[in-house]
Amino acid sequence: MKSLRNVIGLGLARGWTEFWIPILTWQGLLGALFAPVSLVAILWFFRERQSEGVSLALLMLPGFLSFQLAQEGLVGVAQKLALDREDGTLLRAKALPQGMLAYLIARVVVIVLSALMNLMLVLIPVLFIAPGLVTIDGTGFITLAWVFALAFLAITPIGAVIGAIMKSPAAALGLSLLPMGALVLASGIFYPLAALPVISEIFPVYWLGHGLRSALLPEMLATLEIGGSWRPLETALVLAAWATGGLLLAPGILRRMARRTSGSEMEAGRRRYTQSG
């Protein structure tokens, strides 16, 4: 009990430190702000252009938020895990009592904080620079919150599994970008497509987009969706199914990765790195 409390505290502390370390450098700060600032600029630019009876910027907003979460949960997680394996961070964690558990807790903390930060960095400026653009009520906020949380749980384990099974960070990046691109394109998060292939309804990114649209867009736009209405029940069920599957699958694969992490593997990574660099 005492050691469990200790390791949870250490995981949280480690995650907090790791979240701030990159942001507190000029380079890291610019990197963290680049995407949100670009997205907000695009939204601002299109705020007066109308489509479907509402601002084009409003139509784009749910897609942008979905894209950011998918990017963070899939590509970001996969790459960070592969990098930490290669550079020995994971091996160090393994050499400490309860180190792996603390490491994983820290990872979750960093992803949650980053995802929330990205969400806020887009949503809050939009509320200020284009007042009246988003007319979101209490129900809308609640929908936004649960869709975001559930989609996070559905997508992140996929990123973790990719990061755990790939041999090198480059491979992890490639393998996570590929489904990410396909998912984003097939999920209609950048445009409400009634003509989307039915297959996209299998993927969590589609339901993330759908859920966020239902939270942020006016009621009348539901007619553009597949089936012509908002489908909160299906959204919850599909995302929960992915989350359950991912959370059942990921720990075993992460444990296998942890077991196989060794100095020799890291040495191979170091050789790869020095040869290519």
Binding site: S3, L10, R14, T17, D87, L91, L96, T261, S264
Partner: protein
């Protein structure tokens, strides 16, 4: 039954990857408080042995006991008793030295005992490895030698009963090497830490070890102190002297007899007489070459 005075016991250790045999029946034991150096050419299996003992790698066969427990079945409490010096290169590069060491120390708090308080205080440890002035530097700003000292400090932070160091001074300049050797000596003397270290640096092995194991072809081919090994495996000596301003060398196993005769024949004119035993390097080359020749001959027989 595991003996209380035994830190490591290895019997019939086997490691195979498919048909490739890396370790072929390794046996040895390590007493508590002993400093054992694993010596061998590259690819002899030193790192494999250490990773098996650290619990980082599953063996193919044989039995292994580290601090009384099989590392493959070891739990987090066992992990807290073992220190591992890893070779860092990029990990945690943005952390501050003191911040990182203090964070890692906290993992060991729940495993503290009266005999072995855990963790070691961060400032005390920084002082021990000579990093006090760098406490607030970022890890990435340390030179290679200072960084390796941090690696040692991280390995020590849990006040381990047993410390593993796999080739700790690779890529060091002589000064950094000397300084790390001093730290290791201090540990062994003051804390009574049991140390298992691998290297292919003979000078390092001779300086640090209580005992040396030489590993070749997946087997232990010699086991003893540097002195014992030199005496047991090599009776070669050199007699060196100066006569008429000329330096002479005689190599052979008959140094004493030779020197007596030499002095009897030339009652005057001999100076700078010196009898030199084979160095550990000569011994090592001798052992490894003999072993390699034998294994080649064996392969020839079976083919």
């Amino acid at each position: 039954m595991p003996n209380k005075d035994t830190a490591i016991e290895v019997t019939g250790l086997q490691m195979r990857y498919g048909d490739h045999v890396v370790l072929d029946g390794v046996d040895f034991a390590l007493r508590r408080g002993e400093v054992l150096v694993l010596l061998g050419p590259n690819g002899a299996g030193k790192t494999t042995i250490i990773e098996i003992l650290e619990g980082f790698r599953a063996r193919s066969g044989g039995s292994v006991s580290v601090l009384g427990i099989d590392p493959e079945q070891a739990d987090e409490a066992w992990r807290a008793r073992v220190g591992i010096v890893l070779q860092s290169w990029r990990d945690h590069s943005a952390w501050q030295v003191r911040e990182l060491l203090s964070h890692f120390g906290k993992y060991f708090g729940p495993y503290s005992t009266v005999e072995r308080p855990r963790p070691i205080g961060t400032d005390e440890l920084l002082h021990l490895v000579g990093l006090t002035d760098q406490a607030h530097k970022k890890v990435r700003d340390l030179s290679g030698g200072l960084r390796r000292r941090l690696d040692v400090a991280i390995g020590l932070v849990g006040n381990p009963e047993l410390l593993f160091l796999d080739e700790p001074t690779v890529g060091f300049d002589p000064k950094a090497r000397r300084e790390l050797h001093d730290v290791i000596h201090r540990l062994a003397d003051m804390q009574g830490t049991t140390i298992l270290l691998s290297t292919h640096d003979l000078d390092e092995a001779e300086k640090l070890s209580d005992r040396i194991l030489i590993l070749a072809g997946g087997k232990i081919v010699a086991d003893g102190s540097a002195d014992q090994l030199t005496k047991e495996f090599s009776n070669q000596t050199e007699v060196i002297w100066t006569q008429d301003n000329q330096r002479h060398v005689h190599a052979g196993s008959d140094a004493t007899t030779f020197a007596r005769k030499l002095l009897a024949q030339h009652p005057e004119g001999i100076s700078n007489l010196e009898i030199r035993h084979a160095s550990l390097e000569d011994t090592y080359m001798n052992i490894v070459q003999t072993h390699e020749a034998n294994s080649k001959a064996q392969k020839g027989d079976t083919q």
